[in-house]
Every structure is written in structure tokens, then in C-alpha cells.
Symmetry: C2
């Protein structure tokens, strides 16, 4: 499961049945195009993942894909969570750990 | 259904069975406290709503409430959507309208 990089620099992951688009700081249309490309390639499900401040961009992407380009695409599920980062010089305690929120939006058609 | 303003300046809405916390630009602990206050006041369900860049803060609030303060609180549902703003000088066309993404996270205990 090697992350691919498209011409637009969008990171994508392809497994057997599921595909993922990881949202970063690029313009949202880059990510929208990545999702559309997956669906046009036959994917039944595309997962949009983001962390921290990119979360609102992930929702923008899902909304643009659904409303402007692929009206038959539905939201299958939305999950939220927390990723923890430990400081490099201490790897035992959660003290001093940084928490960042995550989101995963699963689209299906 | 009049929006109340708490001492911390957090906007809250109370209807018969449901309560809502509207996320703005204040520190997330203000919103966390508003949610906890609702649950301690007997609410079975609290809705966290946000728009645009405040969306990631809404998820932070939900995660802090769940993991740090009220472990018995579960996520009931997460919904996303789009709000449209029309420019003031034209109220007919969607042309020139600004779209902003929204999120609503429903917590229940």
C-alpha cells in the first residue's frame, strides 16, 4: 500500500476496495479532482482524511464533489478521532503529548 | 428559542429536548465547559455546530468532552452541509454566492 503522488501533488492511497485522499494545504480543487478521478476509475468508495486545520477543507472537498460534480455520490459515514504526538525526547508518558483532531469522510456511489 | 449568552460569551440555544453550542473563535475550553454544563443540567443530547474554519475547533471540542471529561458521552451523529450567502446587491441568482461548509456533531449520553 504505497502512497502515490499525482501530478497535482495530492497524496492518494489505493488498496483493493478502498481509496483514500489525504487533505493537506493545497487548493481544494486538487483534492476534488483526485476524488473524481477515483470514482471515474471505478472506485465504489473514496475516503477523505484530514487532520487539524485541514479538517474544514476536507468537508469543503466532500461538499463540492457531491453537489457540483457527482450528485449520485452519498456520504457513507463520517468519523472523528484524535491523533497523539509524543515529544521526541520522551516516549513513555502522555504528559506533554500534543493532540490533534482527525476526520474521515467516506463517500460512496 | 432565544440564543442565550453565557458568562464566557458562548452562544447557546435551548429548546425542549435538544441543546446547541455554536462554535466561534473563542478558546475551545469555553465551548467544552458549555457542553459539560448542558449535560450536568440534565441534557441527554448536545449539538455542536460550526461553520467554515471553526469546524476543526468543533471536532476538538467534541473530542475533549468525550475523552477528558465525560467518557459516557457518545457521538450520536455527524452531519455536514453547505450554507450559501448571497451578495447583498443581488438576491436572485446563485451566481456570486459564497458557500461555506458546516458541521453538526450530536453528542448523547
Amino acid at each position: 500500500m504505497k502512497p502515490l503522488k499525482s501530478k497535482l501533488g495530492v497524496k492518494r492511497t489505493v488498496t483493493e476496495n478502498a481509496t483514500a485522499v489525504l487533505i493537506g494545504k493545497k487548493p481544494i480543487m486538487n483534492y476534488v479532482l483526485a476524488c473524481i478521478t477515483f470514482f471515474h476509475g471505478g472506485a465504489k468508495e473514496v475516503s477523505i482524511k484530514a487532520r487539524g486545520r485541514s479538517i474544514s477543507r476536507a468537508i469543503d472537498v466532500a461538499e463540492v464533489v457531491r453537489h457540483r460534480f457527482l450528485p449520485d455520490v452519498k456520504i457513507k459515514s463520517i468519523g472523528i478521532g484524535t491523533d497523539q504526538f509524543l515529544p521526541q525526547d520522551q516516549d513513555d508518558a502522555t504528559q506533554g503529548a500534543t493532540n490533534v483532531s482527525t476526520i474521515e469522510i467516506k463517500l460512496m456511489r
